[in-house]
């Protein structure tokens, strides 16, 4: 549980950490879209290099990224295997009994593998370099144009920040309950299926009860301080767009532009 890397903020001091959260969220969206342009291996090479550059700039260790990829490995392999066997285009390169593997399938499988790894790397860089609260703040700013059509921007941002706020608390709680039940002889990793289900029940029920209790306490605490979601509010923390943000954004646009050009020719 302590080794969870996905979505975890790492308090380091780097160029990427200091960038505006709006820029980081926007860039991630643009890069996520450009991952899906069919720009060939050259395109993925460029994007890959760019992501590695971001990784170095953000001072994250490669091992930390590997930790983020690890839990997704099963899904990646699952998708890769499906693609390998079910895409039937191009020339057959390998045939055994009813299994036929086509060269297009191999290429597509490699693409999917590369795409997923790139997506995980990019999202990990975002969450590892941006404090959850800054993320929500950035999101709220980016969503603010939708306020005009009645979209509850502030409420959504509040919900996200509360949800993010409670992830570590709930993880801690989970660990605490797991330890308490382990003291009562539960072994979460061993035993038959029935025992495993029972051990999960012994974890989930207390977890739900305390989560509901916390939700109620928080709602009461907010209401007793007269929280009104519709109130106009100002912020202590203001976001300032810096030159470095514009510079970074230009780089992202350049990379995306290159990828689009490559996919068109």
């Amino acid at each position: 549980m302590n080794n969870m890397m996905i979505g975890r903020y790492l308090p380091l001091d780097s160029f990427i950490h200091k960038l505006d959260p709006r820029l980081k969220i926007g860039s991630l969206l643009i890069l996520l879209v450009s991952v899906f342009f069919d720009a060939g291996f050259l395109g993925y090479g460029i994007l890959g290099l760019f992501v590695i550059l971001l990784l170095i700039l953000s001072k994250l260790k490669f091992s930390q990224i590997l930790k983020a990829i690890k839990p997704m490995l099963f899904m990646i392999l699952f998708l890769a295997v499906f693609n390998l066997f079910f895409i039937q285009r191009g020339n057959i390169v390998f045939q055994f009994w009813i299994i036929k593997i086509y060269d297009q399938a191999i290429i597509q499988t490699l693409y999917i593998f590369i795409r997923l790894v790139l997506i995980i790397m990019m999202t990990t860089i975002l969450t590892a370099t941006t404090k959850p609260l800054d993320l929500t703040l950035g999101l709220e700013h980016l969503l603010s144009p939708f306020k005009k059509i009645g979209f509850p921007t502030h409420e959504v941002a509040m919900m996200i920040s509360i949800a993010l706020r409670f992830i570590p608390t709930l993880l801690e709680e989970t660990q605490r309950i797991m330890k308490a039940q382990a003291s009562r002889g539960v072994e979460f990793s061993e035993g038959s299926l029935k025992e495993k289900i029972l051990s999960i029940v012994s974890l989930i029920i207390p977890l739900f009860i305390s989560a509901f209790q916390r939700a109620e306490d928080l709602a009461n605490a907010m209401e007793s301080r007269n929280y009104n979601p519709e109130a106009e509010r100002t912020r202590y923390k203001q976001l300032h767009w810096q030159v470095s943000d514009s510079l970074a954004f230009t780089c992202v646009l350049l990379v995306t532009g290159t990828l689009i050009t490559l996919s068109l020719i």
């Binding site: 002889g185 029940v201 012994s202």
Partner: protein, 283 residues
């Protein structure tokens, strides 16, 4: 020897930016059948220490020996179940661990995990529930409709039902009313008198003085003192340097002595104190 720690170190999340060195070379021996208090500031390593006693945490260096089960950083028994049965650990606010539909089912959950049959577990459960002061009318009730204090009794009964040789309690009386706290401690004393080792993490020095034989003081990840209770409370300056209050009665004796009395520091109860004061006045 019931519990033995040999230069035990523990670091949380080693090799990450979150690494935290919580135990720095702990040496400790606790004899079988002692009632022992563990005191110290928040963050001094008390919780980390007690979680080594039933191997919820494993030492990152050093050796832990619990009732002849030896655990080192590299070597531990293949199953920890035996150890967990011997050393029952009650966490702070244990009422959060309740999950079954009825109190009886929740209490027999532990013993059944350790291999007791339904009947054996049920008869132990009835016994321990009456020990913690809940009669048979509670057996079929849901644990979630009880008051906070009663929930805690059920949770503690759940650990007692495992019949552990060592009972470790992390602030068992936090948030209880004075009478509830006293009942609870009287119960632990009775359990201790049946020959079991009892370790209590506490911030209440009055409790420590009246119930515990020995005190372990932890500070910054180390065991700084491990002495008899009466001996500890003579070290007034040391305790105030750790901002640990004296027990009410000891503090009162201390003030009397500063004003010319010569009363024994180790007096634990009001009757003896009254006698001693009368003796001094009559001289």
């Amino acid at each position: 020897m019931s519990i033995e720690f040999k230069s035990v170190e523990h670091t949380y999340s080693p090799d990450t930016p979150f690494a935290y060195h919580a135990l720095k070379g702990v040496d400790l021996k606790i004899k079988k059948g002692t009632m022992c208090a563990l005191i110290g500031h928040t963050g001094s390593g008390k919780s980390t220490l007690i979680q080594h006693i039933n191997a919820l945490l494993l030492p990152t260096a050093g050796e832990v020996n619990i009732e002849d089960v030896i655990i080192t950083a590299t070597d531990k028994p293949s199953s920890l179940k035996g150890l967990r049965k011997k050393a029952g650990l009650v966490f702070q606010f244990p009422e959060y661990q309740l999950f079954e539909e009825t109190i009886l089912k929740d209490v027999i959950f532990g013993p059944k995990n350790f291999g007791a049959t339904e009947e054996e577990a049920t008869s132990i459960a009835k016994e321990v529930l009456s020990l913690v002061g809940l009669d048979e009318s509670y057996l079929e009730r849901s644990p979630f409709e009880l008051s906070g204090g009663q929930k805690r009794r059920v949770a503690i009964a759940g650990i007692l039902a495992m019949e552990p040789e060592i009972l470790v309690l992390d602030e068992p009386t936090a948030g209880l009313d004075p009478q509830g706290a006293k009942d609870m401690l009287d119960l632990f004393k009775r359990i201790n008198e049946t020959g079991k080792t009892v370790i209590i993490v506490s911030h209440d020095m009055d409790q420590v003085l009246s119930y515990c034989d020995e005190v372990i003081v932890m500070n910054k990840g180390k065991v700084e003192e491990h002495v008899a209770t009466s001996e500890l409370f003579e070290k007034v300056d040391y305790l105030s340097s750790l901002s640990i209050d004296l027990p009410t009665i000891t503090s009162f004796i201390h003030q009397l002595n500063q004003n010319g009395f010569h009363i024994d520091h180790s007096i634990k109860n009001l009757n003896e104190l009254a006698k001693a004061i009368r003796g001094e006045i009559n001289e």
